[in-house]
Structure formats: C-alpha cells, structure tokens
C-alpha cells in the first residue's frame, strides 16, 4: 500500500467521525474488564440498539483510561464526559444523556489533577482509540512516522533523531536508546534482529501490558522504524503468556498491519521488508533479562549468560540484536513525527521526555499515569495520585520492583529521574510505584521482595541461587523476632556479596530492597531484633503487642 492510500484511509476515518461524532467508549483494558466492563459494554450496546440512537452511536471498546481504581470507565463523545464505576444498570441513563446533560451521579471530573497533570506521549491514544482497529490508529497520525522515515530519512538520520531525543531505555537500566541503535546498526553482519521486551514481570507493574492492550499498533510502528534504522528485517515480541488480552490484540494488530502492507515486504511501497512474530514467555521473571530472553526465543532454558558480548554485538542466534522495552518503542513514532528536539524539551537534564508509572498500593487514584520526567514524588503521589487514603500517613514509596528500593518521606520533593532515584538508593526500573503508609512494616516489605527474588532466581549462579535463600531465611528470622544482631551483620555481608558477584541483574539488584530499607528504616530492623517488636504491628514477633501501641 502506498503512503497516499494510507492517508486516504485515515482521512476517510476522520470524515466518518465528523459526520457522526456521537460515540460511547468503554474501557476494555484488563483493569476495567476485571471490574466487569464487558457487561457494561454489552448493556450500552443493547440500550443504544433499543433507543432513538440506534445505529447512530457506536459503542467501542478502547484501551486504558488511566484511573483504573474507578473502573469501569465510560466516556462519551462529543460531550467528552467521563463516567466512573459504571454498572450495566446505568446503561440506559448514560445512553439517554449522550446528547444532553451528563449523568451527574456517575460523572468523573476531567478537571482532577490526575488528568490535568498528565502529559500524553506514550499514552496519547490510550483510551481514545479502538485498539482492535488499525483505521483508528491511522486517523490518530498512526504510521505517519514510519512513512516519513521510509520516504524522507536515511537510517542514520532516524538514529540521529532518536539520539537527539535523549530517550533512555524504559526497561529498567535507562541505557541511551540512540546509542544502542547505532551500535546494532554498525555491527558487521548480514542478519540483525529487533526484539521487543514485553515480559514485564515486576510485582505491581502494568505499564507495558496497558500500552499493548490500548495501543498495540504504536509498538509495532516503533519496532518497524527500529528495523529500518538498524537494518533488520525480522522482529520478535516476547510477551508473557499471562497477558492473554495483550497477546490477542497484538495478533490482531499484526494481522491488520500485514493486510495494509505495513509489515511484510515492500512496506509503504518501498524496498524495505520487515516481519514481526510473537513469542510467548512462560512467566519467569528472569526471562525479562535480555540474554535469558534471547535464550528462551532460541528454544533453550531461559537463563542469563555473562555479558559481554552484549546482544547488540552477539544476540539472537549470534546476530547483532536490538532489544528494547515496550515503552521505549512506543516513544519512537512521536519522536520521529515531531523530531528529537521536541522530545528533549521535556524532562530533566539527563532524563528526557515522559515516563509511564503504575501507581498502586496505599494511594487514592490507583492506575496508570504518564508525567514528564522530573516531576517530584510529592506531586506524583499527592497531586496526581490523590494522596494516601483514610487519613493514614505516607511512609515510603517503592520504585523499581524487586530490583529497586523504598524511598522515605524526606525525599518527596526529589525530582523523579534516573539519577535522583539511583542516588536515593532505588532505581527508576520499569515504572512500578507502590505507595506504603504507616501500616506497612519495612522489614516485611524487604522480606516480600526477597522471597520474590529467591523464587525467581534462575539458579545458575551460586550467589543469587543460594544467597537469596539465605537472605530470605534471615529476614524471616528477623520478622519472627528470632534474630540477633549477628544475623543483621550476616545479612548485610550477604547483600554486599550477592550484589557484587551475581551473574545477572536479578542477583545484582536483589539486595536493593533490603539495603534501602536498612538505610532509611534501620530502627525498624533493630526493633524486631532487640525489642522483639514490630513497630507497624505487621509481623508476629513472638511477643504480644500492647493494645494501642
């Protein structure tokens, strides 16, 4: 299909929308589906079919609208009203109000800081378009970046824009994306591969899933552009099998993109050919590590191998391989469309653009947010997130999942970027943010993450395999009030050793939750050890808590 034909589809879609602007959008991402948005959608369809708007108000399923804790969410057009906690019984009233005053009882204000403070780049289409229709994506400037890259830019120019944007990998380590692309592009080889890492396994993280469920074409477009830039003709998306909806939508997206000639040979009527295949992971956290992921795609056991060589030098089947995270690829189309400088104008000195976070835990607005890099933790948690519920006191926020750490109150005004988070003893990670209030015991939190690392360790190297098990036992001993100060010393020794000697990032970062809680909440450890008491009242420490303490 030629660029002109694609434009034709987009403008027909836009014209159709203009002719009939009425529309009901129901969130059909995993969060809202779990609170029954499926039934809401059916009820709305019935209500439309049985009323005066029959055939005049399509009911579409869209991706995540962000405020997952108030799902199911429904929005109406042209009025742009957002409804929260919708039940199937509300359908009649909502349909009746499409062209009149809104149903106040259900209305969710778009003026909430939750919406106002966000900046949509990765999530610009999320909750707006039907993720199962490529026409919707095309009408939202979809594939314009690809066409532009293929017809107006040389591969090196594409990489130049990505470098200029300052984009850093969103999979955790924050490696400069442009640099990675140029390394792969420069590697001497006949064959190169592109891999999208959609293995998202951090507890509490659902950014990548949401992007895939809400706007899958964007990830494909990012990958195809990457393929063009680095000279690859084949891409893989490694997605965990626990994400059935994301997989279904990806399959649909790939089929539709192939149908329009955006995948396969002669893409956009040029010489360029690129194909994408899905590979399903069985849900091992370690398979998100790039070398383990590659081993898994190759059909082997998903265990990491020592780097170097890095995948950019010798990756999949030994060929130079570009591996990026879902969100990283999702940033590419707008960067190409608007230029690297546009992207670099957002964010901080060394962390550019926006970042998607999954807000969970003790926070009023649980859900998915996208904010500019450099926003402070206080703004994210207390403004966007609406603060800690039930008048409890904020204690810490955990970022970076099992590889990250807990950041206490004194850092709330710190700007959120790669470097500040690292300085505070945590990491950006993939974007999970778990908010904890004073009812959380920090030793218990550290134990939880250590248990996760212990059971997700691949078992290949000794420090991680046996070290995490010993550390977990020590943490359990502390929680149970059976530990002595020697145990704490041993725990710290093990943290240091496992961090410095493990083979891959899993082991190297497994001690982080312990180290960061020891740094800021050492008194809680000591209370468990010396007083046999859990200050938060979470752990059964052998001794009864006095009432009210």
């Amino acid at each position: 299909m030629t660029p002109e034909q694609l434009e034709q589809i987009a403008s027909e879609e836009t014209a159709a929308r203009a002719r009939n602007p009425r529309r009901l959008s129901v969130c059909m991402a995993a969060g809202c589906i779990s609170s029954n948005s499926d039934a809401v959608k059916k009820a709305l369809e019935r209500a439309v079919a049985g009323g005066p708007l029959k055939d005049a108000c399509p009911v579409t399923g869209v991706g995540c609208m962000g405020l997952c804790s108030r799902g199911p969410l429904v929005s109406t057009e042209p009025a742009g009203v957002l409804y929260q906690n919708v039940t199937p019984e509300d359908a009649g009233e909502i349909v009746g109000a499409v062209s009149g005053p809104a149903v106040e009882r259900l209305q969710c204000s778009r003026e909430l800081p939750f919406f106002k403070r966000q900046v949509g780049v990765v999530l610009e289409n999320s909750g707006q378009i039907n993720p199962e229709r490529i026409e919707d994506y095309l009408a939202a400037k979809g594939y314009a970046a690809l066409v532009q890259a293929l017809t107006e830019m040389r591969p090196a120019e594409v990489i130049e824009q990505v470098s200029r944007s300052g984009l850093r990998g969103r999979g955790g380590a924050g490696y400069p994306t442009g640099l990675k692309w140029s390394t792969v592009a420069k590697a001497r080889a006949e064959t190169r591969y592109v891999i999208c890492n959609a293995d998202e396994g951090d507890p509490g993280a659902f950014m990548d899933r949401s992007v895939l469920e809400s706007d899958p074409q964007r990830v494909l477009e990012g990958m195809i552009i990457a393929g063009y830039a680095v000279g690859a003709s084949r891409g893989y998306i490694y997605v965990r099998a626990e994400y059935p909806l994301a997989i279904a939508r990806l399959n649909t997206a790939i089929r539709q993109a192939k149908h329009l000639g955006l995948l396969g040979s002669q893409i956009g009527n040029t010489e360029f050919a690129f194909d994408i295949e899905l590979r399903l992971g069985a849900g091992a956290f370690v398979c998100g590590e790039e070398t383990a992921l590659i081993a898994s795609i190759e059909g082997g056991r998903g265990t990491p191998r020592p780097r170097p060589p890095y995948p950019a030098q010798a990756g999949l089947f030994g060929a130079p391989t570009l591996i990026n995270n879902v969100e990283t690829f999702a940033n590419i189309p707008p960067i190409i469309r608007n230029g690297g400088d546009w992207y670099a104008a957002m964010g901080t000195q060394r962390s550019k653009g926006t970042k998607v976070f999954a807000l969970t835990g003790k926070i009023n607005c649980t859900g998915l947010i996208e904010v500019p890099m450099g926003m402070s933790l206080r703004e994210i948690i207390f403004e966007v997130g609406g603060g800690v519920p039930e008048g409890r006191k904020f204690k810490a926020v955990q970022t970076g999942g099992p590889s990250g750490g807990c950041i206490p109150e004194q850092f709330l005004d710190m700007p959120v970027d790669y470097d500040s988070l690292a300085q505070a003893g945590s990491i950006m990670g993939s974007g999970g943010m778990i908010v904890m209030d004073d009812s959380s015991c920090m030793v218990d939190v550290a134990k939880y993450f250590m248990e996760f690392c212990m059971s997700e360790s691949c078992g290949k190297c000794i420090p991680c395999r046996a070290g995490t098990a010993q550390m977990y036992d020590l943490l359990a001993k502390i929680c149970e009030g059976r530990a002595a100060l020697d145990d704490l010393a041993m725990l710290e020794d093990l943290c240091d050793m496992v961090k410095n000697t493990s083979l891959c990032g899993l082991g190297q970062s497994a001690p982080n939750p312990v180290l960061s809680t020891l740094r800021y909440f050492r008194d809680e450890y000591l209370a468990h050890i010396q007083e046999k008491k859990c200050p938060a009242g979470v752990c059964a420490c052998g001794m009864k808590q006095e009432a009210g303490s």
Partner: protein, 238 residues
Amino acid sequence: MTPAVSDVKTLQIDGIDVSAQADQTILDAAREKGLSIPTLCHLDGLGDVGACRLCLVEIKGTSKLLPACVTRVEEGMEVTTQSERLLKYRRMTLELLFAERNHVCSVCVANGHCDLQVLGQAHGLTHVQFPYRYPKLPMDASHDRFVVDHNRCVLCTRCVRVCDEVEGAHTWDVMSRGIGSMVITDLHQPWGESDTCTSCGKCVQVCPTGALFEKGKARLVAKSRDFLPYLAMMREGK
C-alpha cells in the same frame, strides 16, 4: 598486502606481564603463566558458562568484578586475581555451597577426590557461617552402572555440558529454578529408563563432587578428565 593486525595482547596479571592471543580468556592467560585462579564450573574442553563466580577478578578501570573464565584478554588490561575482597567473596561462595545441600565429606564417595573439598581446603574453610539448609533430596540408582546423589550436586552443569557438547546425547539438563534447581535425566525420568543415555560415563568423570559416581565403588578413584581437552583439540583440528 597490508600486514595482519596483531592478535597478540599484552596485559598484567597480579603485576606480572603476560602476553596472550586475542581470543584467550584471562583464565587461560593466567594459567599459562602458572598463576592460579579458583574455578568450579569451568573445565578445560567444555564451553564456559561463568556460573560459579569463583573465578571473579578485579580489572582496573571497572568497578565490576568479571569472571576470568569468560572474559577475553585486552591490551593493557591490569588484572588482580587475589585481593582481600575477592578472597572474602570466594570463601562466602564456597560456604553458600556447603550450606546449600548435604556435603558431608567423611561419608562421601568422593572424599579425597572432590573439587569442592579441595577448594574449601585451599580457602582455609574450617567452618561455615551460614545455617545448613539440610534439604531432603533424592538419590537415583536406577541406572545399571551409575548413581546420581542430588545431595552432593553443586549445579555446576558440567555433566549437562559434557553430555550435550561432547557426547551429543543431551541426556542431562536442569529442572526448576533458584534454590529448587536440580539436574535431571531426559524429562525427569529415572536415569535407568533414559532413552538418550549412552552409558558413556563422561558425566561421572567430569562431576566435581560425589554427586555422580560409579556403582560398586565404596571409595571413588580419582576422576579422569584428560580426554576432554584432547577431544576438543581434535575437533577444532588444532
């Protein structure tokens, strides 16, 4: 003709000048010079996995410790193989291994011929600071000639590699993950019922401990591994 770029590198290991081919590892170069770096998962003639972490060394200019068995030499590298920090980590690694399963030398068939025991002695291990985990692990004596005792296994995967890379049978592999990992034959069938096992016994010879041993021998004789580098050499036609 342009002269070939030299593929010989010079570097320093523990302050000693060493030259090595570009494709050699730090471990190769050190051993050629008679410098010893402890290893467990490495075995001459097998592909390296960098898993045991005993061979970690310090390299000037990077804060990361790197495994000597898989890290290639580079021009001007300054390598330290013995430091207080490295020795501490090596001891802890060995202690973690001893505490992980049931390594009771006095009642082990490999007593006196065990790589783990030798490493423990070399590092002056008189006791283990970590609590022993005492897992209850099975023994499989279903094979006519060989036995696997998981209580003694250190998961070095030498058996897995020799069976795959040298014998070409790939009978052995690893099951589960983390602390629950275990070497298995075929798809976790009893060894005696394995369809792929050729009973060649290479796995028994390469096993560093008493995890794999031959039946009917109350005390193991020293294992023979000389065949491996020879086979590897012949294969590569060097």
